[in-house]
């Protein structure tokens, strides 16, 4: 009997060898954020202050929320190409109706969330690729935004503006907001018991189905959550800008995807991390700031942003390098 014990312990050791790599990988998003912050501190020390952090990060909040929305969708192996235009549309609705006619505004926003849930249901029931459905929705939201707000304008309701300009004691509001968002989502999706089912439905849908859970429900719930966070993103954006524009959130689609990936998420297999996604979104926000402080020639500012993305992801690849080449496709 002892002999067998020895053998299996040995095997257990072999299996655990890659754990440090996993830990390193998990802290990589935080590490890259720290690096970017260090860069900012180096180029402009006074940016690291209550006032400075407020200024640098408050526009990160809508990005964080949009990234979380994208993360929900990616968790169930789908991709939302429409989130940016959805955020724009929400912004237009908020700036036009939420102040003048709050009831109508709220009804429309709830309707939008319902539409997101419906999108999830259609994708599951008709078994169609989400990329295409959301590509279609991209045009729909864009069109609706232009119809709602043919020229830029509108005004954010005062309460929204007040919330987004909250002066929290000691710690700047954007950081408080980011921590709260990360904590809430982490608890909801990583710690709750139904969260495990939701993530599992991305990892192995058949297994979840065979255990008697409804896959339709998991998909609808995830898209519903994406809709809710998309709405929150739009509202927070308008709270900051005070006024809307039909194209205001367009860039969030690619930003949110990059944020999820930067935060350690993967496109398939339900492997995501809410904390990582929040950090990823903040890193992207601050990367722009860092470039600005570095006074890169205007020609190359766009390119430098691409380079930052590449460097961070290359670092992750280096950590994963130990994995055998093609075999990692599995």
């Amino acid at each position: 009997m002892t002999s067998l014990a020895g053998a299996s312990t040995l095997r257990a050791v072999v299996a655990e060898v890659n754990t440090p790599r996993r830990i390193l990988r998990a802290i990589l998003p935080a590490l890259s954020l720290a690096l970017v912050v260090a860069g900012i501190a180096w180029f402009n020390p006074r940016a690291i202050s209550y006032f400075g952090i407020n200024l640098m990060l408050n526009l990160g909040i809508p990005v964080v929320l949009a990234t979380i929305a994208q993360m929900f969708v990616i968790t169930v192996n789908e991709l939302d190409l429409s989130i940016g235009n959805f955020v724009s549309f929400v912004g237009c609705v908020a700036a036009i109706w939420l102040r003048e006619n709050p009831v109508l505004g709220v009804v429309i926003l709830i309707g939008c969330i319902g539409l997101y849930a419906l999108m999830g249901a259609v994708i599951y029931l008709r078994n169609v690729p989400s990329i295409v459905v959301t590509l279609g929705m991209l045009f729909v939201w864009q069109g609706l935004a232009v119809l709602v707000l043919p020229r830029p304008g509108g005004k954010a309701p005062a309460w929204l503006h007040d919330i987004m300009n909250l002066r929290t004691p000691y710690v700047p509001f954007p950081i408080v907001a980011a921590v709260v968002i990360a904590a809430v989502v982490h608890f909801g999706i990583m710690q709750s018991s139904y969260g495990a089912i939701l993530r599992g439905s991305g990892g192995n849908p058949n297994a979840i189905g065979r255990a008697g859970w409804s896959l339709l429900r998991t998909k609808v719930v995830m898209f519903l959550l994406a809709g809710i966070f998309g709405v929150l993103s739009g509202l927070s954006l308008i709270g900051l800008t005070t006024s809307a524009d039909a194209n205001i959130g367009k860039g969030y689609t690619l930003l949110s995807i990059a944020g999820v990936i930067l935060g350690g998420g993967e496109f398939v297999g339900g492997r995501v991390s809410p904390i990582g996604a929040v950090i990823g979104a903040l890193t992207l926000t601050l990367a722009g700031t860092l470039l600005n402080f570095m006074r890169i020639s205007p020609d190359w500012q766009v390119g430098a942003e691409g380079a930052i993305l590449i460097i961070v992801l290359a670092a992750r690849a280096l950590i994963n390098r130990a994995g055998p080449g093609v075999l990692s496709h599995k």
Binding site: V122, R126, N127, V128, P129, I131, V132, V133, L135, G136, M137, L138, F139, V140, W141, Q142, G143, L144, A145, V146, L147, P150, L254, I257, A258, I261, E266, F267, V268, D299, W300, Q301, V302, G303, A304, E305, G306, A307, L309, I310, L313, A314, R316, A317, N320, R321, V326, L327, S328, H329, K330
Partner: protein, 315 residues
Amino acid sequence: MNSLLRRLLSQPWVWSYLGALLVWLAAIVFTHGYGAGGMISAGLALAVFSVITGVAQMFVITLGPGNVDLSLPANIGLASAVAMKVMGGSDSLIALGLGAALVSGIGIGVGNYLLIWLLRIPPIIATLSASFIIQSIGISYGRGLQIKPPPGFAEFTTVQLAGVPLLAIGTVVLTLGFAVLLHRTIYGRSVLAIGQNPRAAWLAGIAVERTRCFTYLLSGALGGICGALLAGYFRGSSLDIGDEYLLASIALVVIGGTSVSGGKANVTGLWGAGLFLVLLLTMLNTFGVSAGIRYVVTGLVIIGVIVAAGGEKAR
């Protein structure tokens, strides 16, 4: 006969042709038949560019989940500038300019592949980051100036044979070539195999990395050619000349019956989808609807097509 019809209808690309026919009919009903031929002719001419980018995107997407070339628009923009600058408005330098655009495109393809392979970055992010860098190169190279094509080249891109644009004929031939490449060559088979299961493909002796490399190269090269042709057709290069072809190429690939989960591609459908989207735009512009409505209708049509066609059976 009946079974033939059924087999035809079971082909995913048939729907895109039907859709194209439908929107065309709607447009000419609106104009009481006025301009019917002109619409087809204009549609063919404009569809050429989305079909070329569609072919590029199709090969990439067929490589399997996560593979997509987001750098196409930036690639097209840079190539258009490179081509026009090298041609310098002189007919004698057309070939050189086309070659330069091709080299620029291939270079971008190589860059994309190196990011994906060497740094193991997911293709969607790699090509996105690359596109940022390409944009910067484009800005510093072209300074946003519109350079005019040589008259001969401009003429070539718009000349028509009996109402059919020469470019469209050439592109049909080109797409036939790509259909053969996809279904009847080792390279094409390799792409399809990798798209289904890269590990199984590797174990079946397929040169996985070489195939992926060539695919991104191909996509880059097609983007480069498309950039040069666009600059000729629209009488001038510009950095954002390719902007609309990102969404268009993806939409084309999917409406045309290629599987976004990889391993299954359809060249024929690209033309149907290309004509469908251009004629849809023609129809809406003819109706004179506002931009907002046009977007909404385009979106609903894309969703409608894909939902009606339904998904392939879950794997």
